[in-house]
């Protein structure tokens, strides 16, 4: 893999049942590229939580994944309502998801904390009523 590989996915915000398809796809790509299971698990869980967030809160968005031998970078961009208080959103258990989302197993306020936990770096840029960009980096150990 001399050149970094780039994968881009449109995340459909209309259909909750399909949320996670892009993360499943990345998991397969990384497996075929021969990355260690632990690295694959960290990347796919972080991206999966991000994908779910984009579907729940932002009506979908775009996921870009850059795969290098030493690191994997995920950038999630949406044009949703934005996050007014990022520190508050980062607290475990804090959630603004509607009850309907909780009844299908998400919205426990663990998404962003999980994303941070499984990655080596996470940067959130958000502007209210404009959208949110989440950058995550997983180092290959």
């Amino acid at each position: 893999m001399p050149e970094p590989l780039k994968f881009t996915y449109d995340i459909n915000g209309e259909n909750f049942a399909s949320a996670g398809e892009a993360s499943m796809q990345i998991k397969k790509e990384l497996r075929s590229l021969g990355f260690a299971p632990e690295t694959i698990r960290r990347v796919s869980i972080a991206m999966y939580e991000g994908e779910i967030n984009m579907v729940i809160h932002a009506g979908g968005g775009v996921a870009e994944v850059l795969v290098c031998p030493e690191k994997i970078e995920i950038t999630l961009t949406d044009h949703g309502p934005g996050i007014p208080d990022i520190d508050l959103a980062m607290q475990e258990g804090y959630s603004t998801a509607p009850d309907a989302i909780r009844s299908i197993g998400f919205g426990a306020g663990m998404g962003l904390p999980n994303m941070k936990k499984y990655t080596d770096e996470m940067i959130i840029e958000s502007e209210v009523q404009k959208g949110t960009k989440v950058f995550m980096r997983v180092d290959v150990k």
């Binding site: 996670g20 999966y48 299908i104 197993g105 306020g109 663990m110």
Partner: protein, 118 residues
């Protein structure tokens, strides 16, 4: 513990993945909250849940889990079964309630000793 033993302890019926019943599993997780599964599971190979939707299968796949048990006789949809088959996950359904199902597996030896920091 073999998945076959999980099936026997829970009086479960296999929906798909019969060919993987010989696989060994070392720990389990019982939850209806998928974000909690994604947060706390280490090397937990069996997921017990009362939640029935496609995200249950995707969550298990992301965590490299080997077996999903739906409690209280809940049945997965054909789309969920297809997704599980693509990922080599055994799916079964048990008449037991969550508490009882977890208790039987714990008593049968699928306890904390099996969890690793993988």
């Amino acid at each position: 513990m073999k998945i076959e033993v999980v099936k026997q302890l829970l009086g479960a019926q296999v929906v798909c993945g019969e060919e993987h019943l010989d696989t060994d599993v070392f720990s389990a997780c019982g939850s209806d909250m998928m974000s909690d599964v994604l947060a706390y599971v280490k090397d937990q190979a069996v997921l017990l849940t009362g939640l029935v939707n496609e995200q249950v299968i995707r969550t298990a796949a992301m965590m490299d889990m080997k077996c999903i048990v739906f409690v209280r006789n809940k049945r997965p949809t054909p789309q969920m079964v297809d997704l599980a088959e693509c990922n080599g996950i055994v799916v079964m359904t048990s008449p037991l309630r969550m508490f009882e199902a977890c208790g039987k597996l714990y008593e049968g030896g699928l306890n904390r000793d099996g969890a690793t920091d993988a």
